[in-house]
């Protein structure tokens, strides 16, 4: 089934807050580790923690052919921005970068990169883990797993 394009029109556009402490993007093409590193790096940082999601080749033993990601773009950006702002405000964190893919992804491709930079590494690890845990609970992005003989919206049913 084709994804409707009506409310996905701003995909790929870059969004940035006035301040440069956070960078939140939804992209229709490959995510880039070095770009994320450059957005997170700063002279006060001593430790930078990355979470990089990759598409696994199986789910509960069933072979995965590909994943289709779609986003309610406007709200996804705003929910990811909330995560970043919360970290910047509450913890000793000096940069948060969250880039999420949409579209069709094959095994090994990267749906998400989260980078947290901090003066000290413990805070960076904790914040990065908080960011991906929260993203998976609150950010309106959906993935459909495509198997050889069927497809399913992940987590939709009990």
């Amino acid at each position: 089934m084709k994804l409707p394009s009506s409310h996905l029109s701003v995909v790929g556009e870059k969004r940035m807050k006035n301040n440069t402490m956070t960078n939140i993007q939804i992209k229709a093409n490959d995510l880039n580790l070095d770009e994320c590193m450059q957005l997170a790096a700063n002279d006060e940082a001593g430790g930078i923690c990355f979470f990089v999601g990759t598409v696994r080749n199986q789910t509960k033993g069933k072979k995965v052919v590909s994943l289709q990601f779609e986003a309610y773009e406007k709200m996804a950006i705003s929910e990811m921005q909330k995560i970043a702002d919360h970290l910047i405000k509450d913890k000793s964190i000096n940069r948060v970068v969250i880039h999420h893919r949409v579209g069709d992804l094959s095994v090994g491709e990267i749906p998400v990169i989260i980078v947290v930079a901090a003066p000290h590494r413990k805070a960076a690890f904790e914040a990065c883990q908080y960011a991906i845990d929260t993203l998976k609970e609150t950010v309106p992005i959906w993935k459909k797993e495509i198997f050889e003989n069927g497809e399913v919206w992940v987590s939709a049913h009990p």
């Binding site: 009506s6 779609e70 986003a71 309610y72 959906w142 919206w153 992940v154 009990p158």
Partner: protein
């Protein structure tokens, strides 16, 4: 009040359109909207859960809808 409701993921599969039109009369809450949705599309009851966003913010059942609001059905998210 005529509502345009955005749908995503499995919600779009259930209603079979990415922009659902519903007519709501009088003051309407998210609770009323959900009742109407389930009446028209019983499949929504089989979902693990679903939320309603108004103007790109999650809102609770008592929230009152206004003309012109951007309403969206948010089935269980699965990003990352």
């Amino acid at each position: 009040m005529k509502c345009n409701i955005l749908t995503f993921g499995i919600a779009r599969d259930i209603v079979k359109t990415s922009q659902l039109e519903l007519n709501l009369e009088g003051e309407q809450t998210i609770r009323n909207l959900k009742e109407k949705l389930v009446n028209q599309f019983p499949e929504f009851e089989k979902l693990r859960h679903y939320s309603i966003a108004v103007n790109a913010e999650y809102r609770l059942d008592d929230f009152i809808l206004n003309e012109g609001d951007e309403i969206a059905i948010i089935p269980p998210v699965s990003g990352g």
